[in-house]
Point group: C2
């Protein structure tokens, strides 16, 4: 197989350690990839670049169309734009896919059997970044929903469900209050659902839907929702499977897709060789499927499962009952 060029960013904090570990695992499993490194994040922000990414890096992203990204640190203080949001929007990454599956009993959870995928719209909503000060005392932010954007994410969720052997797609919205914006989301969901008679579909008002997700996640399968709801509830879903520290995420676009952990750069753990590379590694698994190397994805995923099941655990998931060895980042990668 000819190596597929991918753009890689080692990021900040624990980023370099977990990226090094993840790439090593992927390559050991036979990934045919040709990584091309770019610099993003803190060091770039501190050069006075408010976006946190250099102009030439965009070129790499446009050429490879695949971005494997470690977490970054945004410096304290104002004036910095969210690199994540900039990249997602600039490159049209419209879908954010976040699988949340329990690994009971190896990773502690109150929800064994949980296996939910959150499909989050990734470009619109309050994330459009249109905010202003109306008077000295009044601030506004614009929530924006478009029919094409909504239709695309909803259709993506149904296609994803079908392609991955899922049974049901659920929609969350608050259309009893926001009858136009959230109303559009719900309406488009009902329309698109008709094209997928092989899949169950249902809608919940987001307040009670979120409550059910937190209390009894096993009733859900694939859930599609708008950007901000997805931001909040994917963290909820990830945390109740065990920890957001283990969550991975694929940001899918037509021309470029980005694969990342959902956790942050944890500066206080940096350089200690203790961080758990799972989030970024599982993002790598999503990436291998995306670039057409599903056998590698499966191999890595199985190796990860086996390591977890063998009780070879980093500090964050170490527990008296199922852990056998507390290991470093690099020892976890070796295993």
């Amino acid at each position: 197989v000819k190596p597929v060029p991918i753009t890689v960013a080692y990021g900040d904090g624990i980023g370099p350690e977990i990226m090094e570990a993840s790439l090593r695992i992927l390559e050991a499993a036979g990934a045919a990839i040709a990584p091309e490194t770019i610099e993003i994040g803190e060091s770039v922000y501190l050069k006075g670049n408010s976006a946190g990414i250099e102009p030439e890096s965009w070129e790499s992203l446009r050429q490879t169309g695949v971005f494997y990204k470690a977490p970054i640190t945004t410096p304290q203080g104002g004036g910095y734009k969210s690199l994540n949001v900039t990249v997602r929007k600039s490159l049209g990454m419209f879908a954010n896919v976040r699988p949340c599956a329990a690994m009971h009993p190896f990773i502690a959870t109150k929800h064994p059997g949980m296996d939910v995928v959150i499909v989050r719209e990734n470009e619109e909503d309050l994330y459009a970044g249109i905010e202003h000060r109306q008077t000295d005392e009044v601030y506004q932010c614009l929530k924006l929903f478009s029919r094409p954007g909504t239709e695309r994410i909803v259709r993506y969720a149904f296609e994803y469900a079908r392609a991955n052997g899922r049974k049901k797609v659920t929609c969350f919205s608050k259309d009893n209050i926001m009858k136009l914006t959230d109303g559009l989301f719900h309406k488009v969901f009902d329309e698109v659902a008709r094209d997928y008679p092989d899949l169950e579909n249902e809608h919940w008002i987001i307040d009670i839907g979120a409550a059910k997700l937190a209390a009894n996640p096993n009733q859900f399968d694939v859930i599609v929702m708008a950007n901000l709801y997805g931001d909040i509830l994917s963290d909820v879903a990830a945390e109740i499977t065990g920890s957001v520290g283990l969550g991975s995420s694929a940001n899918i676009g037509e021309y470029c897709s980005m694969f990342e952990a959902i956790h942050g750069s944890a500066p206080r753990r940096a350089g200690q060789n203790v961080a758990n590379p799972t989030g970024l590694l599982l993002a790598g698994v999503q990436m291998m499927v995306h670039i057409g190397q599903p056998e590698v994805a499966e191999k890595v995923h199985n190796a990860w499962l086996k390591t977890i099941e063998d009780g070879i655990h980093t500090y964050d998931i170490f527990n008296e009952e199922t852990s056998t060895r507390k290991v470093s980042t690099s020892a976890f990668a070796d295993a």
Copy 2:
């Protein structure tokens, strides 16, 4: 004690049954109240009144300043405004207070010991109801935060914490993305917190804050947040203590306050004398404190605790381990 005039609405669905039960309990405990009944909800909507409340009812609410409200049904189809939102906004009910406490082991929960109060801003945010269609394919909704509104809710949360012997106030916001609106909320929180050196304070980005709340609620005490976040996360918090079916809520305003269950009117259970009156009853407990009869509040709350602990349970919380009798709405009230 001279009876305090209160406005009462029996609502729709299970509303009349649980209101009848709740009033009966309050009065048996010596509540000095003079209920004045108004009609709201489905029947009013169906008369062509899009707000679901008659003009003369506003007069009663303005005079008593206390509204004890059962859940209502909004008819299917468009054109109906949310009565709750109309009442909250028209009468300036700026704070929505939702206590969520576990009743382990009597009511099943994965979070024994949980005891969180959510203080939700109740007038601003995306609930301002400013929504429009920009083009045929683009819809917008305005999120609005004002400094006075934000300051009032944050100060209310700290005052509530102090008055109720709470130790910590937490703020949730998404100020890494919405730097003006959510940024204002966070900034005002930090400012107001300085006036309460006797209380701990902390801020979480809402995504990870919500995740922690769902996975490990015992680390929280009082949490203050904007309207939509509070809508979603108070349902989450209530559901993980046992059920949203047990949650109560006080909508506090300067001139008028409303006390209600957080659940809906459950039309399918209506007229069967099976519904659990707990949500509305505990809202009644909040009301008795509000109108200056805390001894009655305490008496009712203790009676409720004792009934639950005795295993006298309605169908919704009936369980093999701790229930002794499965009872009807009226038998629960008798007990």
